[in-house]
Symmetry: C4
Subunit: 207 residues, 4 copies
């Protein structure tokens, strides 16, 4: 029974995390505003003027999606999950919950004099996410909670790949001091980078 109990535990933690990830990215939509409500504004032009909102939405959507795919892959490697790791996962989810708010900050302020401050908060949030992520993985691999049939070298290569995240977001944080738009573009590029490298190299897994 012990085995199935643990499997169920992983299952519910995955389901709960999926819920938070899915709601957070769906909630992004409530920040979009109907430009037709302002009298005398052409709808198409109004939507074009809202481009920072769409740009921030797409950047957050893909960053969180990439993180969900990574979360999903990471959990296929986990043999067992204890309460401590559930709370580490909870801390990760807290930051995921905050992403729609940081997205609103960027969307509202990207064309104002406070654009750089908003971008700093945005980059800082993703930096926090990636640091917690690396801590979670480090703790998993150190405490031998990873399935036994996964190649040691594969685990290390995954750890190296994850450690690129904080570098990207520190860079975005520094850039946000000079240019808000460039900082958000770097965060979008980080998502593209992870989307490309996230493919699991099957050959490096033992059969």
């Amino acid at each position: 029974m012990g085995e199935s109990l643990e499997e169920r535990q992983t299952g519910r933690t995955e389901a709960f995390s999926d819920g938070v990830f899915a709601f957070a990215i769906t909630l992004l939509v409530i920040n979009l505003k109907d430009p037709g409500l302002s009298p005398g504004v052409d709808l198409f032009r109004g939507l074009l003027n809202e481009w920072p909102a769409f740009f921030a939405l797409v950047t957050t959507f893909f960053t969180v999606l990439v993180m969900w795919v990574g979360h999903h892959n990471m959990f296929t490697f986990i043999r067992q999950l204890d309460t401590k790791l559930m709370f580490a996962n909870g801390l990760l989810l807290l930051v995921v919950v905050l992403t729609p708010f940081a997205t609103i900050l960027v969307a509202d302020n990207l064309l104002t004099s406070q654009a750089r401050e908003a971008a700093t908060v945005y980059a800082g949030l993703f930096l926090a996410l990636s640091v917690i992520w690396n801590g979670l993985w480090y703790s998993l691999s150190r405490r031998k909670l990873i399935r036994k049939n996964i190649d040691e070298r594969f685990i290390r290569s995954l750890g190296r790949q994850y450690s690129v995240g904080p570098l990207f977001y520190v860079f975005a944080l520094v850039v946000s001091y000079f240019n808000a738009l460039a900082s958000v573009v770097i965060i979008l590029l980080a998502a593209v980078f992870f989307a490309i490298t996230a493919s699991i190299p099957k050959s490096s897994r033992t059969p």
Copy 2:
């Protein structure tokens, strides 16, 4: 273990997609406004005057529902899911997330001078959805990621059925240039068409 690992992967992608689909159609309700808040307006008459909001809600609800049923059926045919397909699925979900916003545009503007612009955005969004959908299916069938015990002819007939979607939405897009209401009606009819044809013809599946 490989088999069960892949099965779990499909499972979580389905659960995540279900969350986004379900949440997106439930969020539609927050656009409905209590007409009783405007002083001196009769509640029944106020609700009747809000018919564009209900009409757009029902159209989006059934279109997304039909898409969910199709997504559900499509995933029963998938043998395996790789990271590339997870991101293609993610792109599909991004457009699903945007549907409540496009619904608000139609609901707010159907009786104003910007009705046709709103209908164009609405039809354009569903066109994008159906194009991504067809791309996803094309990529699945090309890359042999479909279960082996499904009849080749059935796969091709499903592909033909899916390809009707873009035709409907291109038609709705063209019509939106002349009449917004007619354009939305076409989109509702597309949902009815897919609801009728979505029934899986059991006879064409190999046992």
Copy 3:
């Protein structure tokens, strides 16, 4: 494989329905307003004055919860689910999605001159829900989609129990013409009735 395919289909329809039910009742909370925002209003007194909002929330919450428990029980009896039934289930979910809006109507208008109109809409919505519910069950039992090891008499007794729903809501609809509060109380009592009778009598099931 046929069997497991069908089982998976039921599984995802249940998961999707669960999502819509769960989001709809959680969304009820966004209608509650902080009375502390109005200057000079005591917080406790302000919350007490908001009792129609809490009353409507609790009534809707328990009605939808009872319906979810019933949905859950109903699905344990279903042997197979086809596309037609998925859409019947979708129609049910559409009305579930509308319940937070009907709740807002009652919450906002219970103490105004439009209370009876709001209660009529509220009762009408639950009447529609229960009629669709009965149609779904009738269609399931007529088309032999119920598990074979369930006693015929049990199926008929369940049908009789479900048919009480529309009676309750027609009564609430008639009463709403005279007194809004009494009408909502009847709907709350209907939820209590179903909560008591929803217990599955194990003895009437064949082993």
Copy 4:
């Protein structure tokens, strides 16, 4: 079939509860406001001034998360679930649904003259949650609905651990009469306490 039927019942109740828990904590984010919208306010300073909103969000997030982990652990011990317990679980979920509203009350009023009233409502809500929780567990253990292979002593020790909850929240309720901030800090400390003690002592489970 009986066994698998019951297992499915627990499964859907868990999935439904997960949905409500996950959605409730994600909804917390919509209360955060962009300080950049007020002209002339520095974004960083504005966010700092919003600390009560972040503080209340974090407190509620971790309290509900701890409760979810506990709910998760509790359900691994449940052998069977009947309709009565589904409704007891429903009552628990009703209070969970109200937590984002109580969080808004604290966030909005922590720096106003009504801070203590808001803290009283907040502490009262968590007191209600912990009382329902203990009632649920008492009813489960009394009615022999717990898996047979769990040690009696472990069940009793879990019951003792749960009974600490109401003590914490009664204390927070009393303190709220004197100091709102201290009351919320106590609730945060309660979450920390449960996070530490929630680890399942494996040794006390029979193999």
